[in-house]
Amino acid sequence: MNIHEYQAKEIFRKYGIPIPPGEVARTPEEAEAIARRFATTVVVKAQVHAGGRGKAGGVKLAKTPEEARSVAAQILKLSIKGLPVQKVLVTPAADIASEAYVGIIVDRASKRAVFMASAAGGIDIEEVAAKTPEKILRHPIDPRYGLQAYEAMQLAFFLYSDIKQVRAAAKILQQLYKAFSENGGSLAEINPLVTTPSGDVVALDAKMVIDDNELDRRPDIAALRDESAEAPSEVEARKANLTFIKLDGNVGCVVNGAGLAMATMDLVKYYGGEPANFLDIGGSSNPEKVVAALRIITSDPNVKTILFNIFGGITRTDDVANGIVTAIRQNPLKVPLVIRLTGTNEEIAVKILKENGMSAMTDMDEAVKKAVALATGGKAA
């Protein structure tokens, strides 16, 4: 789960990480009032679950409260990577002497949380990683002991030479690890971690991603979810326990299992079509899930054909067939439907479909070819 910068900052502040004050505004007028209280130059930052905010015009400096209002008005009209900006964070602008990067992520390769630190922080950190990997220090952390003080000092010495700054940064790193591990993070990041001209070390930005599997046991963190900042179709999918990602094609796909869903999308493309979405109905699928899946897919006007690809294991194909029948009864389809199903209770599923005037295929390639042909009017495949 993504949380906003201002929410991540609230968590980091609780752990004593130095972060400049800031307040959230939903309207240009609120932004102006906040800027007036700070009585200094402010930065107005879009709060949206998308990277590249700065490059998209979502972060702007404002010298006066009036200017804060006008830049907030601009930013609140923006849509960044398809997500409309509904809140801005207003925070006093800092004088920056240097920008560093620090972050923690769970690393597949070392099977541990790994700290990363670089003195070359800022918006081009990925380029730094790609071109000059020696400028980034990686340090795996033993989960039994956490980040020890000496380790934090080693990382901090990689960033700074001034001993006061090293000590300040080491403390920030240890607290960041605590914030990460005690809140079920899969990522925690400060970019940039800056030094000010007076020598202070301050976190100007904060990013945190929470492991979805942690949310059940952390209701306080789960409550930070901002549904208004997510795509409506994805909110509905999550509530129905589906995984859904909208794409730009016209073949709507309903599949059980992420790997098979991706392979189905690949095959749609292979036969000359374009998938309209990724949708995984998961393992134990009840008919209601299928109803929700069809409702989500048919709300996309680009969809010209719907393809079901179900390989029953834990998933019972008769559940899926019942779901299809129920969904169509509630809401007749305006586009053709191609159903491929095989596996658990296949005979029952085929019978259910037949009784309702539908049929099912058993071969994945044939089904995909048919769906693509229907979507493209026979031009492809």
């Binding site: 597949r108 039994r144 492991d211 790997g259 493309k269 294991g313």
Partner: protein, 270 residues
């Protein structure tokens, strides 16, 4: 022959009383697996191989309990185990000398001999090909297509799709290389991470048996960015193209579609 499990494998099921545990427990017994017992977490029992069917918040504890009891091979089917729990479980299990398959995996099956987990038995048939995969239903799809083409399997292993899992591609490739009956290996990967690339290098350096591979997610859009850290840590975007290139560079046959696995196998088994 087979890897990891055979007809002599004795199995204990943790969480056998739940809906999934009892359903699949029955299926495994019907398949011929020697299920010697089932328990709910916290209660003792006679333990051999072990399979975990415990809900996510308790799965870490169940895996550690099994390892602490000296179970040599633990299979965890549970989906949704928090990844920070797994950083601890991984070390705990390893230090006690146990092997772990999963979590979030379909388990494994040695057709005609034994099955541990949820891979449907009827789609498999005994034969000379070993299979290792990161996915669940995509594994079934490929096995089904192999079986339809009369290409049987020694063992099919689902290692699971979680970021931290106990057994990886290389562990399985190594075991298949050493298994005298396995003549060829299928490797099914997905986008994300660098496991497949490392496995491809292992094939080139350490294996004599032919390996063919498929990567799901060739058309997946660049994923939801996990800040900058994801790309920095792996030095790789983990795209399908990157992985297929690694297969190609290291002599792993590249299947563009799942069905192509069958054609590639026919060629190498000839």
């Amino acid at each position: 022959m087979s890897i990891f499990i055979d007809k002599d494998t004795r199995l204990l099921i943790q969480g056998i009383t739940g809906r999934d545990g009892s359903f699949h427990g029955k299926q495994m017994i019907e398949y011929g697996t020697q299920v010697v017992g089932g328990i709910t977490p916290g209660k003792g029992g006679q333990k051999f191989e072990d399979k975990v069917y415990v809900p996510p918040p308790f799965a870490a504890d169940a895996m550690m309990e099994a390892a602490d009891a000296g179970i040599p091979f633990i299979v965890c089917i549970t989906e949704g185990v928090p990844v920070l729990d797994m950083t601890r479980v991984y070390l705990f299990v390893k230090e006690r000398g146990s092997k772990l398959l999963g979590p979030n995996c379909p388990g494994l099956i040695s057709p005609g001999a034994s099955k541990v987990g949820i891979i449907p038995g009827r789609i498999c048939t005994p034969g000379p090909v070993g299979l290792v995969s990161r996915s669940g239903t995509l594994t079934y799809e490929v096995v089904y297509q192999m079986t339809r083409a009369k290409i049987g399997q020694t063992t099919c292993v689902g290692i699971g799709g979680d970021p931290i899992n106990g057994t990886n591609f290389i562990d399985c490739l190594d075991a298949f290389e050493k298994d005298p009956v396995t003549k060829a290996v299928v490797m099914i990967g997905e986008i994300g991470g660098t496991d497949e690339q490392e496995a491809a290098r292992f094939v080139k350096q350490k294996m004599k048996k032919p390996v063919v591979g498929f990567i799901a997610g060739q058309t997946a859009p660049p994923g939801r960015r996990m800040g900058h850290a994801g790309a920095i840590i792996s030095g790789s975007a983990g795209t399908a193209a990157e992985k297929m290139q690694a297969f190609e560079d290291n002599g792993v046959g590249v299947a563009k579609r799942p069905i192509d696995v069958v054609d590639l196998l026919k060629r190498v088994l000839r």
